[in-house]
């Protein structure tokens, strides 16, 4: 009986070894360990052999089975590895054949800068206000303390639109009329920024375009002072430009603010960048917006968006922004 078991186990082992595929091996498993396999049949014979040999034969039988099962497992692993290896070879792809050109859309860099600025100010608690691009002469000038005949009007190179009374309608020369509209639309306190498109009668060159973009800020609240303006500019500077950048205000002149200042940004290398204008909202401007200057005070600031976009991406000609050439757009 022992010999028979040994022989059967050896035959089973040989069959396992000779299986060439996983499918073959499955057949071998069923042949050698299945219901009608020799070892299974030998187990059934155990009851018919003498009791004194039964224990020994049983042990041998279990051992043989374990041996075959373990060989089957080894063989299965070997064959699975081999099959996977050959499948991998067959399925080999050169991923570098995929052309890198993918038609993804690119946001305009002015929009990128614009949204980034919106986000910084939203984070500081501001709402984002808007106003029309085609504006009344009154909102663009008179309400901002630039009455007709004021020499400052000349400096704006205004484009007028043939609508209504001659000279009454224009393409806004700055985002400042949004200040007036914001004050007319809601009671203080007011904390807004107003990014927008503005227009000047300028011939296009590397630093001028007849169309460009500005962002305006307006705060009206109780007890707002020059310190609030300076602090706000400083916080904005750190958040937009990053650590190591700081700001300063120096006296300047604008008809719509008093006191007025220019604000400069200092880069970490110590150099200065003139960024924009700002100041305490002129009492006449507050009145034009329906705000009592004895009860409320405020500050305003404004600067160009396009120049920030140019600087951020190292573009040196403003006209590039408006060519709509995909070789430009796709770079960003």
């Amino acid at each position: 009986m022992i010999d028979q078991i040994t022989r059967q186990a050896d035959e089973a082992a040989a069959a396992v070894e000779s299986a060439a595929t996983l499918a073959d091996l499955q057949q071998v498993e069923s042949d050698q360990l299945g219901r009608s396999a020799p070892l299974t049949l030998s187990k059934r014979q155990l009851g018919s052999i003498p009791v004194e040999n039964r224990k020994e034969a049983g042990r041998a039988l279990n051992e043989a089975r374990r041996r075959v099962e373990s060989m089957l497992e080894d063989r299965r692993r070997t064959l699975a590895d081999a099959e996977r290896a050959s499948r991998l070879v067959a399925e080999r792809l050169d991923l570098t054949e995929v052309p890198p050109a993918v038609e993804a859309g690119h946001a305009h860099i002015v929009t990128q800068a614009w949204e980034e600025l919106e986000d910084v100010f939203v984070g500081m608690g501001y709402e984002v206000a808007e106003g029309p691009e085609v504006e009344t002469d009154w909102h663009n000038f008179d309400a901002l303390n630039i009455p007709a005949g004021h020499p400052a009007r000349d400096e704006f190179d205004t484009i007028y639109v043939n609508h209504g009374k001659a000279g009454s309608t224009l393409l806004r020369t700055h985002t400042s009329p949004v200040q007036i509209r914001a004050m007319q639309q809601s009671e203080p306190p007011i904390y807004i920024v107003a990014p927008g498109r503005v227009f000047r009668r300028d011939t296009a060159d590397a630093t001028h375009m007849p169309v460009f973009h500005q962002i305006e800020g307006l705060v009206i609240d109780k007890g707002i002072s020059l310190a609030d303006l300076a602090g706000t500019i400083e916080v904005f500077t750190e958040r937009y430009f990053g650590p190591g950048f700081s700001s300063r205000l120096r006296p300047n002149h604008f008809p719509f603010t008093e006191p007025s200042a220019e604000f400069d940004i200092q880069r970490p290398d110590g150099s200065w960048l003139e960024l924009g204008g700002c100041g305490m909202v002129h009492p006449d401007v507050l009145r034009a917006g329906g705000v009592n200057p004895e009860q409320w005070s405020g500050f305003a600031f404004g600067f160009g968006i396009d120049r920030l976009a140019l600087m951020k991406f190292g573009v040196d000609d403003l006209r590039e922004l408006f060519t709509n050439d995909v070789r430009f757009l796709r770079q960003f």
Partner: protein, 797 residues
Amino acid sequence: MDNDLDQLAEVMIDLGMVVEDVVHTGPAWDGIVVAEILDLRPHPEADRIQLVDVDAGDGQPLQVCCGAFNMKRGDLVPLATVGTTMPGGLEIGRRKLRGEWSNGMLCSPAELELTGDADGIMILDPGLAVGRPLAEALGADGDVLFDLDIEANRPDALSVAGVARDVAARLGVPFTLPSPKFPEAEQSVDALAAVDIEAPDLCPRFGVRVLHNVTIGESPSWMAARLVAAGMRPINSIVDISNYVMLELGQPNHTYDLELVPDGRLGVRMGRDGETLVTLDDVERTITATDGVIVDAEDRPIGLAGVMGGASTEISESTTSVLLEAAVWDRMTVARTSRRLGLRSEASTRFERGVDPHGIELALDRFVELAVDICGATVASGRIVAEGNLEPPRTVRVRTDRVNSLLNLELTTSEIADLLDPIGFTTRPVRMNGSETDPTPALADALDVIIPTWRPDSAIEVDVIEEIGRHHGYDKSGRRVPTPTQVGRLSPTQIARRRIRRALLGDGFSEAMPLPFLAPDDLANCGLEPNGLTLSNPLVAEESVLRTSLLPGLLKAVVRNQSHRNGPVRLYELGRVYEPADAELPHEHEMVAACASGFGPGRPSNGGSEAASTAAYAAVRSLYRLGAELGLRGLTISNQERPGLHPTRAATVRFRGQVIGEVGEIDPRVLDRYDIDGRVAWLQLELAPLVEVVNTPARYKQISLYPSSDIDLAFVTPDDVPATAVATTLSKTGGPLLQSVELFDVFRSPQLGRNQRSLAYRLRFQAPDRTLTDEDVAELRQSCIDAVASAHGAELR
């Protein structure tokens, strides 16, 4: 020294004067020394050159060849020694001229960039030390020029004195104006001249003095050097003194040849239409009633007030008697005349911004002092100062607590007074409650401030507060950040814009930014109604119309890319268009448009698998993709002609029944006009109708736990029945159990017949509370088939 200069520049910047440049004037004359002419003799080989021996400081004669003949033995002249680089860049070497050595070059004023005079060598004042560097000898060495940008509100700072007053106040050092001293002749000016102001609003003040025995020549070199440094060209001593006084004190002034002004009488009046005047630049100007003029005793205009003098009374080399004018003019009148004639001068710039009406006397006297000294003039005693309508000095109440709250400071009233007094703002402490008219300074809570007459910009309390802040230093106000109680956020429109951008970027469209200006024929060329608003003063005709659609701009962008062989492009724009309206402002509204170029003209057999290759189908797919990204349930399209679009490949886009835009491909005729190759997909939507839904969160709908059942139905449908119409019928008929309708195949074949195609829809049914039975589904199937047959005459295939 440089450190001090930097500090001084910082002070100026801190006071609001932008230091554009700091220039050292000395170094350009390196190598140029004072030399004495020892001997002059003809060049043996050349008539136009003479040989000059000079002493350059070592006592030895040095031979120089020179082409000028205006100097004599003993004169002191500038010598550019060998190795010098002239201000104009010329390098001086030792060289031979027709066989004679020249060891340097004698310099004309022009070569030193002092005057335009290139004819003769510059003869220096006798008594200068021979051999000294020229710059040092002329006191011009180490001159530092601050090039300042002065804001429009500071006409007082358009003079050396004005800048000095500001800087001195900040530095706490004394400031004094010149106090001219000169002898006056016995004869009174009243016997020699008269002034009559007929237009008092035009001329608040007009002053004159009379000078005799004037010798007009070249200005002393120190004055010439200063004028050059300030960017002015020295002309002759009288003109130079006039300019010098203007630069020093900010008061423009004018000189007449007294002999040419009958009786020395000057009048001031408004011009009369049709009058003419030849100005100093020899141009005949036509005068209008809005100009101010200066007239002579015979009422003839001899000057344009504040802008330019007349040629008829101009001083010349032979003038010996000078009528000197210093006047102040109405700002608007000068601005108008100067703009009308395109004539901007140093004088008109100052008058436009505002000149101190009380600076006239000092300017007259300073001129006289210099003229006595430089031109040997004698001066008639006294001045004539006529007055028109002169505004009295303004007094402004400045509240101490207002100053402190606006500037975030804690200044006392007397500290505020101390900041204002040095810049000429005279202060008087007062109490706001008016209980004491003249309180002790310690009790005062406000100041009555008399605005100096040289500060026309300063008119109200905040103007004075700006001066206080400026002189105290803006940085002293400190920094704090106001905290709004509101929560910062984007508006629904702004959020919608961002969502739309994100969706279009994801669909491969890049953002274009065309200018909103169109050429006059652009709208018509695009097949659109040519009703755009026009600009009154366009820069160029090609940019004279405001767009009413984003189409022309994006088409031009396609053209641009095609001309640079950039291949097919996908571009979008989110921008405003403007339409005429009977309202205060035109109708301005925001649109989003996307276009894609490079499609073929082919007609695919269906809109499914082949859609990507056909412009119109691609556009529709992009529309649906955008709609899906934005959550626009209820977006429908219907085939319809649209201006500018391919008449049989266009559709109107509706959202919840409202027309919001168009989709399709551009009319080939339009493409031809712009020479665009291939077909262009087009999609344009209004932004406003999308805003609300984009900002409305989707409502959760219970997902059924029961299995769904699909049925596929293919209908043979006439071509003129839109596929969406069939789908709509199916949706309505399917009722609440219908989960989705999907057009999964479009099929054309001769067997189906002409103008027919098969539309295959997959309908998915599902109930929230039970498994649908075969009977349920069969019933739904039949009613769908019946509904399509009756609504569209389409048969089940």
